[in-house]
Symmetry: none
């Protein structure tokens, strides 16, 4: 079944809010085995809304609407659909009773426009609203299915999960549901990963293999349709084994988690600790580590040694290494090593990672923008350093340096570093 | 001029990412006086993309695409538009040179698929990509205008702001342009700000007053249409004076900058320095400060004292204050003061800000989630501390605590603290 999500609201077209409903519904429909082919946003305008319905009917079997069920004159979804289908509007008595009771209990005077929230397109199944007043609508006409949900996420989500899903399962029938495994990679770009897997990606049919890139990490989604978890697992197995074999040094998780979560889990399981000495990333790696609840046992803390003064005072990097004509300078392999060792020594952590580089926009110490050194000090091991030349703007370089530092730590924790 | 935003990417239809680009572009187009009538999302499928173009052409004068300009086989926007228009594809030599140079400088082998990022629809104006490789496309054919931007926000935004806006201003012509002033507020919520300005907001006609909230800060956009900067300034003046008068202790900028930029400017102008001692925010404030280019003179650095061990060793907080049955504990006003004073003493900075609190999800030291202390140590002043009870999830609490700490510093820097 092909679906289109139609969000109704001028506030979306003005950019006042982000269409998070579309993401939520896309995921929810995928889990029901329904493919979303389009998402559309249209303003609070009956004519344009009717046109969007006409277009949607041509290219989808199911139209899921959000928004336009509220009490104001701008709330037009129900009216537009009724007009488009040539149907009437009827009052849903239970909702009307709920609305009048609500106003009575609040002691407020009933505002007539609220009556609109109890209206249904003629023939529609009402969908209960547990967290608001507007009743949802579900109906099937001439082979097209229409699901009308409220706009506010806190009303839309429970309605979709409850009456909405029940109704959708009926119209989908006992079809096959989509099962996916998310593979997460670090230390490799999207194109590098595609090179490793190009023949699999070219030949894909079932399971499907879909790569996509975020800042500093790459995800591949391997999916198949199946009627049970077990059937899905056996259909996915061969592809997963092959991908694992080829990407072993980069595949840090088989679920949708960022690398910092994988790292905190490894540190916790190994009862080891890490500290951070950050210069150009300015606290970004620490911040990422501490997004993870329960990270306190594994992540001791760190120093954001943005100035040479603090590199010296907090991390014991010799001033002679940092400043002077013949000194290696703050952005150097020597300083990265000294930062990591100085940090590790402070609290005797199992690991310390250091990052120093030129994030730009201007070069520094005569060194080019994007030059970054990552140091890793590990108990009973020789401290290592890695030199990188990263591209991008200031923020891009910082993010890539931070993610690369996490990848370096992951390699060490998995015995690859 | 009527515009439609067409986002291309199966990851959007699967709900893997939110279409924040549509919001960004909707706002940006509104500022240029261009009305967005539709937003569409379509997958990485050439046939459906061509159909979306055909529909867009019927109902809009300008189609703004995001996504599908990257190196992989899934990146089809350029090809689909060329096929739809019956045009060829040509190589943009400067971009190709940039790509080969980038690979050469990295010492990596050139991956052939990257060549795709240098391709243009025949006759298109190339749009510079300052933060990535894929070149943008802009062209007008038979009265319809097409603007092709990359999908990753960090490439799309600068391209839209630079070459994209320049090209759009040409095609819009010298119509009445929307002129806006962005007012940025900290230390106050959206509803608090609305209370201060409710009569102005209710009575608004021209200029319009549009408030919207982000995490930890609030923006008000005051707008009018005018044919010159001068005319706009005189139309906006009265409203701005009144808003300034009422919101003086919260209005930190009259341009769209985050508070950390305002702070770095104030510190730099006053030749003063700051250090940070962060616990529950885990480096977030440091990270925000260092997003600002040139922050190194004002921001000396900091300590992410996530553990008691580091609070003691790096910041000299007495262990007797942190641990023991009668101790105030890590989350306390006493510790916030000791952290700030210990941090300031390390490098003798003009200010040190400390943050310690319970970000959750679990309570800590028997203290409730959301309890946060912010300390501020200032040269020649008594150290002050502020106790907050913040709401939200872990990330929400951390962001609000970080923004509040920045607001505290801003108050001190502007003589209000």
């Amino acid at each position: 079944m092909r679906a289109e999500i139609i969000a109704v609201g001028t506030e979306l077209l003005l950019g006042q809010i982000v269409n998070t409903n579309a993401q939520y519904l896309s995921r929810g429909l995928a889990e029901l085995g329904i493919d979303v082919y389009y998402q559309t946003v249209v303003g609070d305008n009956e004519e344009r809304l009717k046109q969007a319905i006409a277009i949607g009917r041509e290219r989808a079997d199911l139209l899921v609407f959000t928004g336009g069920l509220g009490p104001t004159m701008d709330d037009l979804t129900r009216d537009a659909l009724a007009a488009y289908l040539g149907r009437g509007i009827v009052l849903h008595e239970p909702t009307m009773n709920k609305i009048t009771e609500m106003f009575a209990s609040r002691g407020g005077s009933f505002v007539e426009s609220n009556r609109r929230q109890a209206l249904l397109v003629e023939g529609a199944t009402p969908l209960r609203n547990d967290t608001g007043l507007a009743v949802g609508n579900a109906l099937s006409v001439d082979g097209t299915h229409y699901l009308l949900l409220p706009g506010p996420p806190r009303e839309m989500k429970p309605m979709f999960q409850n009456d909405g899903s029940t109704w959708l399962k009926q119209i989908v029938g006992p079809a096959e549901t989509l099962h996916s495994v998310m593979l997460k990679f670090a230390g490799i770009g999207e194109s590098g990963l595609e090179d490793l897997l190009i023949d699999l990606i070219r030949a894909q049919a079932d399971p499907t293999i879909a790569p996509y890139a975020q800042e500093g990490e790459v995800t591949i989604r391997v999916s198949t349709k199946a009627s049970s978890e077990q059937e899905a697992a056996s259909k996915l197995e061969g592809t997963l084994i092959e991908i694992r074999k080829r990407t072993e040094a980069h595949l840090y998780a088989e679920e949708n988690i960022p690398i910092e979560v994988a790292i905190i889990r490894l540190l916790t399981a190994q009862r080891r600790t890490v500290t951070l000495a950050e210069s150009c990333t300015g606290g970004m790696v620490s911040q990422l580590m501490t997004t993870v609840p329960g990270s306190a046992d594994a992540f001791v803390g760190g120093v954001v040694s943005y100035s040479n003064q603090l590199k010296h005072l907090a991390l014991n990097v010799p001033m002679s290494m940092l400043e002077g004509t013949d000194a290696p300078g703050a952005v150097s392999g020597e300083t990265a090593i000294a930062m990591a060792e100085g940090m590790r020594a402070t609290v005797d952590s199992d690991f310390a990672i250091s990052i120093t580089g030129v994030a730009g926009p201007a070069s520094s110490e005569g060194k080019p923008v994007g030059l970054v050194y990552i140091g890793i000090a590990e108990r009973n091991k020789v401290t290592r350093v890695e030199q990188l030349q990263l591209s991008g703007d200031r923020e891009g370089i910082r993010i890539r340096a931070a993610k690369r530092a996490l990848y370096t730590l992951w390699l060490a924790l998995t015995g690859r570093g």
